[in-house]
């Protein structure tokens, strides 16, 4: 099967690929993995700021996609279904991580708070500036509560529609809009603090 693509216009939609995969075409599975691995990684990465954990969660998501392929029904958008799996796995991992953090809190000083960003080597001043801005924004996003972080990442970084976000987080569109609005306002407050 040929799965050529021109830009973002794929020959097969995600749903068509999923149907082929459900029919036993494993090449379709590889194509779906290739389409979503980076998107999901960037989504999950906002929760952990840790590349390895995030990649593991994306792997878990893809394994679930493989093993539970028959649970998918075409009434839902494939991307929404996949993001929901990734979000649930991320939340489970986050809960585990929080429990672990509570256990070791007494052994950890304030400066040792885990927060690593992959190192990049900027060349020009502009790159340095954009790198600093990136770090500040990431930190500001990290400061948001989970419900705000999820919607803001899905909307402003993943660029999903309100309808898709509504299906993923399972709240009405009105609530999604309101959360995004409040998250953006709160982000401004956090950024003001970080820029000082």
């Amino acid at each position: 099967m040929q799965l050529d693509k021109t830009g973002k216009n794929y020959i097969y939609t995600d749903e068509q690929l999923m149907a082929r995969f459900q029919g036993g075409d494993e090449q379709a599975y590889i194509e779906l993995v290739n389409r979503y691995r980076n998107k999901l990684l960037n989504f999950v990465y906002r929760y952990f700021s840790d590349f390895e954990i995030s990649e593991d969660i994306v792997q878990d998501t893809m394994v679930k996609l493989y093993l539970k392929k028959h649970y998918y029904k075409e009434i839902a958008k494939f991307s929404t279904w996949l993001y929901t799996i990734a979000k649930n796995l991320a939340m489970t991992e986050l809960r585990k991580k929080k429990q672990r953090r509570v256990t070791f809190l007494s052994q950890m000083t304030r400066d040792e708070k885990p927060y690593d960003i992959p190192s990049d080597q900027p060349g020009t001043d502009q790159e340095i500036q954009s790198d600093i801005t990136n770090k500040i924004i990431r930190k500001a996003i990290d400061e948001l509560s989970e419900k705000f972080k999820t919607v803001i990442v899905l909307r402003d970084i993943q660029e999903l529609s309100y309808e898709e976000i509504s299906s993923i987080v399972r709240v009405p569109i009105g609530t999604v809009k309101s959360r995004i609005n409040r998250a953006r306002l709160q982000l401004q407050v956090e950024l003001k603090h970080l820029r000082k």
């Binding site: 803001i152 953006r184 306002l185």
Partner: protein, 175 residues
């Protein structure tokens, strides 16, 4: 338009989904309040910066590792499918043992209950010679004093016997 209404409409304004009438009100508010204008601009810049946040990419051997895992976990899940009526062989054998034990115990209890019901058959159906003694001759063996006593009960005695003994209750109330 007040501040609360203004803040609620910022995202709609930036998304371009604000109704025309509201849009005009919103822009009038922006003209009046420079802080509000700078807030909207800052949010717009933040959104554009968020779009530019460096995207992380999966490692090169991501697919390779994934396919290995898929094969491994696929095999595990397939082996898990070897079930008997939805139970794993271990649980199925335990369940079988329990059900056999239940039937054995149940049949044993049933036999016991049947035997006891045979023993409870009225005396005149059995061959026991002692039990065949007529009722009158049995009564003849009972202590004669008792017969005398019972026969000597006058009507007054019987009435006294039937009277409820309230003496204790009265004592209790008085106490």
């Amino acid at each position: 338009m007040n501040r609360y209404e203004f803040e609620n409409l910022i995202s709609d304004y930036l998304d371009g989904s604000i109704p025309f009438k509201m849009r005009k009100e919103f822009e009038d508010y922006l003209k009046k309040d420079p802080d509000a204008k700078s807030l909207v601009n800052n949010i717009r810049i933040t959104i554009s910066n968020m779009n530019k946040i460096k995207k992380v990419k999966t490692s090169e051997d991501f697919n390779e590792k994934l396919l290995k895992r898929v094969k491994k976990e696929g095999l595990v899940s397939r082996s898990n499918n070897n079930t008997i009526f939805g139970f794993t062989p271990f649980y199925a054998s335990i369940l079988t043992c329990l059900s056999v034990a239940f039937f054995v115990v149940a049949s044993h209890l049933y036999n016991i209950s049947q035997n006891s019901s045979v023993n409870n058959v009225p005396n005149h159906y059995t061959n026991n010679s002692e039990n065949n003694i007529p009722l009158q001759s049995k009564n003849a063996n009972i202590d004669k004093n008792y017969l005398v006593d019972s026969n000597n009960d006058t009507l007054q005695d019987k009435q006294e016997k039937q009277k409820p003994k309230n003496s204790n209750k009265i004592k209790f109330v008085n106490y």
